[in-house]
Point group: C2
Chain length 313, copies 2
Amino acid sequence: MAITVVALAGGVGGAKLAHGLAEILAPGSLTVIVNTGDDFRHLGLFISTDVDTVTYTLAGRAHPKHGWGRAGETWQALSTLTELGGPDWFQLGDLDLGLHLYRTARMEAGATLSDITTDICTAWNIQTTILPMTDSPVRTIVETPEGDLPFQKYFVAKRCEPTVKGFHFQGIETAAPAPGVLKAIDAADLVVFCPSNPWVSIDPILAIGEVRSRVHRKPVVGVSPIIAGKTVKGPAARMYADLGIQPSALAVAAHYEDLLKGFVLDEEDASLSREINQLGMQTFTTDTLMRTEKDRVRLANEVMAFARAEVLE
Amino acid sequence: MAITVVALAGGVGGAKLAHGLAEILAPGSLTVIVNTGDDFRHLGLFISTDVDTVTYTLAGRAHPKHGWGRAGETWQALSTLTELGGPDWFQLGDLDLGLHLYRTARMEAGATLSDITTDICTAWNIQTTILPMTDSPVRTIVETPEGDLPFQKYFVAKRCEPTVKGFHFQGIETAAPAPGVLKAIDAADLVVFCPSNPWVSIDPILAIGEVRSRVHRKPVVGVSPIIAGKTVKGPAARMYADLGIQPSALAVAAHYEDLLKGFVLDEEDASLSREINQLGMQTFTTDTLMRTEKDRVRLANEVMAFARAEVLE
């Protein structure tokens, strides 16, 4: 029987591995549960950055170079906003705007984020199940010396400059997993933590209701988002450093210590394997940087082969 | 001293003559009061179609062929909406969207339509004062056998197909003229009714508070939006016919009978001049069709020369 996989993902890096998995697994056997802590309202629009990045990527519509936003994107609306002195700090492309307008209208008519995500997947013929972690508003707040900053303010407007002192997830206590989330985890043969930010992409998903305890019952393989002490994209390495932790694949593995049975790290970090093994998990080293679509498929195949050989019984 | 003019205008035709007047009058001596009865909320955006058309036209940013919307417009956001099965009946261009996003954000932060319009004029270096007729929501409702239709539903979604039985302006009783409207009329040497739809562009403006009675004290020249029984754009002729009135320059003049001292009609309609004179107004016939920017200036010059010679003492 086909192996059933749940992948937890944030934005660009997570979306790339999810895409690789989608390409190699049997139709219907992959569910991607996506962080919504970075969601925000901007100019009246309901924007769900990670869900959009995963959706665009799995639809083959993501910008091939940026990883976020859409291929063939244009910036006409933003140019008007700039001319008029409006708030133009968030990069809103025209194609992207169409989706935000669609989602906002649907939400205001009472649809949930997961309903809308399903309908977008149907319209774009995406075979993978994409689930937002929750339909309730959860907002990742970055604690800094300047005060608490909503994630997009920290990440985009402030360019990750304020020192990170901690995080919290507004609304997490009352947020329920979106329909299908717990069922998908329970039915999974394997859970994969995509190479996403542990602090602000994977942790919020794990913090929703019973998600962490359900994941805990499953074989889990993590893929390091940190290569040679750096992130390919995004602020994870900086966040580690701000928090007084040496950013490394080892630090990521340690972050998930109680959950992981296997960990995939870059060949540049091969020297960390032994220490990671000492945390009680199997390791696999390879080239984890996904430059091309072929890299995504290769890494996905390697993750699955490693899981079959070393993690699943 | 420079002559001071107030022009009342709806969308495309009105904007063209307003543009001609702006080109020939002394800086600071023209105020355009614009219909807001066609305004509506769509996809969460606050859209003010006639104010935008006048603004784009006076900023030199209007689409040269359509008359509405912007030069260099693209349709990427709308293409996404269509792909996703969203409401795509209203033509929302990407450049145009930027302005709607700007205005909607400002309105939600408490700014009025007239504040925002002033700021857009400043950003785009428009010397003419553009005033929405009111900052209160007024909605033109077209009464049809299918029931009452908001103007954009009738005009765009239903393509003017339902038979018009009448009109009313929701909210008109409590709407106050926008700041500056009455003052501009009181200070004007001349009021010009641009070649806009009498029923749904000029009538709503006149119906706000004391606008009609203040205009009544002033010399007024109207320009016919109907040429040889037809409108250049928009549903005015059809509305006349639906209401059982022969659409003609004469019908327009009669519509404003109590207000006009002078009326400008197309040379194709020269035979109607005598009957219009019998309504108690002077007439001037010329080529009123504005195909090019030169035509706008020529017609504006002719309107002003006629007003000076025959209407102003």
